[in-house]
């Protein structure tokens, strides 16, 4: 409750929250809100500018852009959530164990993370997609894997700090098992940085998916997805600027929303995080 109040006071964070909530509503009710079938095509009506008939115009196959962007919300948001969750699930436990136990395993994981971080991120994603083939799920997997090292780093540094706190010492003194300590004491105290990092990474995930879509490696048509739409629209940027504009704007707005929300959460949850995230 306290956190929420602080967030509401933070005006920009409130804006971010409203944007994200708006997108969630759109995602939930996309079929009801869409004026047309997002897959219904008509080549004769291709690349129409916005008009009374087509609110945001049409794409290269004459499909209604507005309906496609609405439906795309589902795909893009799911993409963001799943890839971030994947990065979290892959990275956080490794970071926690590595930070808590230290020693040889810690050194080893840290070197491994160094390797992954020194590897250009987009390239890692491109290669994962090349190996697994493009598509929605593989894109999420690629982005998730690329995000994991950051989670390892952030969790590990939080754990290192928490490990030395009194309540952990106390728990250890009464003979609580390490696993229980990690689960009961360490992880809950890492939550703040994880939540903040995750909202910021959601924004990144959307941008990455767009980048992969630009290279033709994202979600496969006819599935409406913002990044793929934006990538496709580049071909028509001179003849139909609206086609690039609207998916681009949707991406920018969602990224903006997640960033504002992330900032707000950071200030509300733990102002000390400022210097680290």
């Amino acid at each position: 409750m306290h956190t929420l109040k602080r967030m509401v006071k933070h005006r920009l964070a409130l804006v971010g929250m409203i944007i994200i909530l708006g997108f969630l509503v759109v995602a939930a009710f996309a079929p009801q809100l869409s004026p047309r079938d997002p897959l219904k095509f008509s080549l004769a009506n291709k690349l129409r500018p916005p008009s009374g008939e087509y609110m945001l115009g049409t794409d290269e196959l004459g499909r209604d852009l507005f309906s496609r962007i609405l439906h795309g919300t589902r795909v893009s948001l799911m993409m963001a959530v799943v890839s971030v969750a994947l990065g979290l699930v892959l990275g956080a436990p490794v970071g926690a164990v590595s930070g808590f136990y230290g020693g040889a395993s810690d050194i080893l994981t840290q070197r491994l993370v160094d390797v992954l971080m020194a590897f250009p991120g987009i390239l890692l994603a491109i290669m994962v997609v090349a190996v697994l083939g493009p598509g929605l799920w593989n894109t999420m997997l690629a982005v998730g894997i690329s995000f994991a090292p950051t989670y390892v780093r952030v969790v590990r540094s939080s754990v290192l700090e928490i490990r030395e706190r009194e309540f952990v010492e106390a728990a250890r003194a009464v003979g609580t098992s390490s696993l229980t300590i990690i689960r009961r004491h360490i992880l809950p105290n890492c939550l703040a940085p994880l939540i903040v990092l995750s909202t910021l990474q959601m924004a990144n995930a959307i941008l990455w998916a767009a980048g992969l879509g630009f290279l033709g490696l994202g979600a496969q048509p006819p599935t409406p997805e913002w990044g793929t739409m934006l990538g496709r629209s580049q071909t028509y940027i001179r003849v139909a600027p609206h086609y690039a504009m609207f998916p681009g704007a949707a991406i920018a707005l969602a990224v903006l929303g997640f960033n504002l929300l992330g900032d707000g959460l950071r200030d509300a949850l733990d102002p000390r995080l400022r210097g680290r995230l």
């Binding site: 897959l39 095509f41 080549l43 004769a44 291709k46 690349l47 290269e60 196959l61 004459g62 997609v129 090349a130 083939g133 493009p134 598509g135 033709g216 490696l217 496969q220 048509p221 006819p222 496709r232 580049q234 071909t235 028509y236 940027i237 001179r238 003849v239 139909a240």
Partner: protein, 508 residues
């Protein structure tokens, strides 16, 4: 009064002559999409590389822009009655850029080296041995008659470089700076950026007007067009089709719509149900509106296929098109036992052919209308090639989109490798596992018939048979949409997807 008019006419004519006379000098910049992988005739595999190389290293015979075989380094040739010996008479007085003379030995050295090349199959193994008959005559000894051989000698990958350069090349190394006989000499190559060529002042034929020509690599079509508009390029390849009308209307720019020799098709896995049923294959041909695809997606560039090869290729015979008729498609599906359609996958490349992904998406949408639920899968190009080169026992795909450029302009090149049973993947390029005894017989026959009328007739019946059997969803043949600034004169935009600056000049 009459004298005045005459005078005016004279002034006008003089002016016209002055306007039309080529001006020597200057540097022309031509924009294209991909950096050549190599400039070694043994290594090159792509049209862009062939385009650059052909200015430096010439071929034995020339394929002109109106697609006729003309003499180049070979002045004349004869084919024996049985088709097993070919004699080539080499032009005299030609020298390579390094001063070495062109003669029969030089040609033999080049062709022997070509035996190990990527595209060696253009000549070998049908050519068994190559003999030097005298200083300016070379003989090919064939194991079997091979009618398309002369056409294959025009291929830019069979370019001739200096024998001195070949002799001095360390084992296992590639030629980096080719030394040929062409109107331009190699000057510089900044990888990923540009290749620069300068005029060869000792050229054996008509010398080039330009001091130099630069081929500049600009991967994005949109960016390339911007550079042409802002004057940083004089000519470019691949204008995005939907920008065509805008370019055509821009003062100072000229739009060129040139045919290309590439046919785009979607092949069915001929050995996999339900595509084993000709009714299904025909239904799919009726279900897709090819006219609309060419008009709306390709901006009218190219044309709807009326055979498995495009109209300019020797041996082409146009067929009655499968007109767009979803009702008929549904009827055929019903007759084949699939009244409510079926599910399948459609593999396609992205960014390889003109608007390929958009075309695939349109096909998917058309198929959905008759109840066929095709799932689209795209792959990165190298992965795609690997995926499609599987033995039949492992091939799980239903349909795939591919393009085949019939660069020799002879039907053999465009049909044999794709439809003959002996060419089944992974050995050859028959990736759809097409197999039909009639087709095999006709393909074999056309290779040994040497009289053109007979070959034409053979291909005509073959194409009709293939049309009815519908092993492909016949889509379209591509066109090339190029553009140039009006100051760029006499550039040749070749159907093989080359822009040639041999005779070009700048009007400024």
């Amino acid at each position: 009064m009459a004298r005045k008019a005459l005078l005016l006419a004279c002034v006008f004519l003089v002016g016209l002559a002055a306007w039309a006379a080529p001006k020597p000098g200057g540097e022309m910049v031509i924009g294209f999409g991909t950096d050549p992988e190599s400039l070694d005739p043994n290594k090159i595999t792509s049209a862009p590389a062939g385009m650059v190389l052909t200015h430096v290293a010439e071929t034995l015979l020339l394929m002109t822009e109106d697609l006729k075989v003309a003499p180049l380094l070979v002045e004349n040739w004869t084919v024996s009655e049985d088709g097993l010996t070919v004699l080539l008479y080499i032009r005299k007085g030609v020298f390579f850029h390094d001063g070495a003379p062109l003669n029969a030995d030089a040609v033999k050295v080049n062709l022997e080296r070509f035996r190990k090349a990527t595209y060696a199959f253009l000549l070998f193994p049908r050519v068994n041995t190559i003999d030097v008959v005298d200083e300016y005559t070379v003989r090919f000894n064939l194991d079997k008659p091979f009618a398309p051989l002369i056409a294959h000698l025009t291929h830019n990958f069979v370019a001739i470089v200096s024998p001195k350069q070949i002799a001095e090349l360390p084992e296992g190394k590639d030629i980096l700076e080719p030394v040929g006989t062409g109107p331009f000499k190699f000057d510089a190559w900044v990888r990923g950026d540009y290749v620069r060529l300068v005029r060869n002042d000792n050229y054996w034929g008509d010398k080039a007007y330009l001091d130099s020509v630069v081929f500049k690599v600009i991967p994005s079509d949109a960016t390339r067009l911007v550079l042409l508009e802002t004057g940083q390029l004089h000519a470019m390849m691949r204008v995005p089709p939907l920008d065509a009308s805008r370019v055509a209307a821009t003062a100072g720019l000229e739009l060129l719509n040139i045919p290309s020799v590439r046919t785009i098709y979607i092949a069915f896995n001929y050995q996999k149900a339900p595509f084993t049923d000709v009714r299904i294959r025909q239904a799919i041909n009726y279900a897709v509106d090819k006219e609309a695809i060419v008009k709306e997606i390709l901006g009218g560039v190219g044309g709807v296929s009326d055979a498995a090869i495009m109209p300019l290729v020797f041996g082409h015979a146009g067929q009655e098109p499968y007109t767009y008729d979803p009702e008929k498609a549904r009827d055929l599906l019903k007759a084949a036992g699939f009244p409510s359609g079926f599910k399948c996958t459609l593999y396609h490349p992205t960014g390889r052919y003109m608007m390929d992904a958009a075309v695939a998406e349109a096909v998917q949408a058309y198929l959905a209308e008759v109840g066929i639920d095709a799932k689209l899968v795209t792959m990165e190009w190298a992965a795609y090639l690997a995926y499609l080169r599987k033995p039949q026992s492992e091939a799980t795909f239903d349909m795939f989109m591919l393009g085949w450029g019939c660069v020799t302009l002879d039907a053999d090149y465009g049909l044999f490798a794709l439809f003959h049973t002996s060419e089944w993947a992974p050995v050859g390029s028959n990736r759809s596992f097409y197999s039909d005894p009639t087709v095999d017989t006709l393909l074999d026959l056309a290779r040994v018939v040497s009289d053109p009328v007979g070959r034409r007739a053979t291909y005509a019946s073959l194409l009709t048979y293939l049309w009815k059997d519908a092993p492909w969803l016949y889509l379209h043949y591509e066109g090339q949409l190029n553009a140039q600034r009006t100051v760029a004169k006499d550039l040749i935009h070749h159907p093989r997807e080359y822009i040639l600056a041999h005779k070009a000049w700048l009007d400024q």
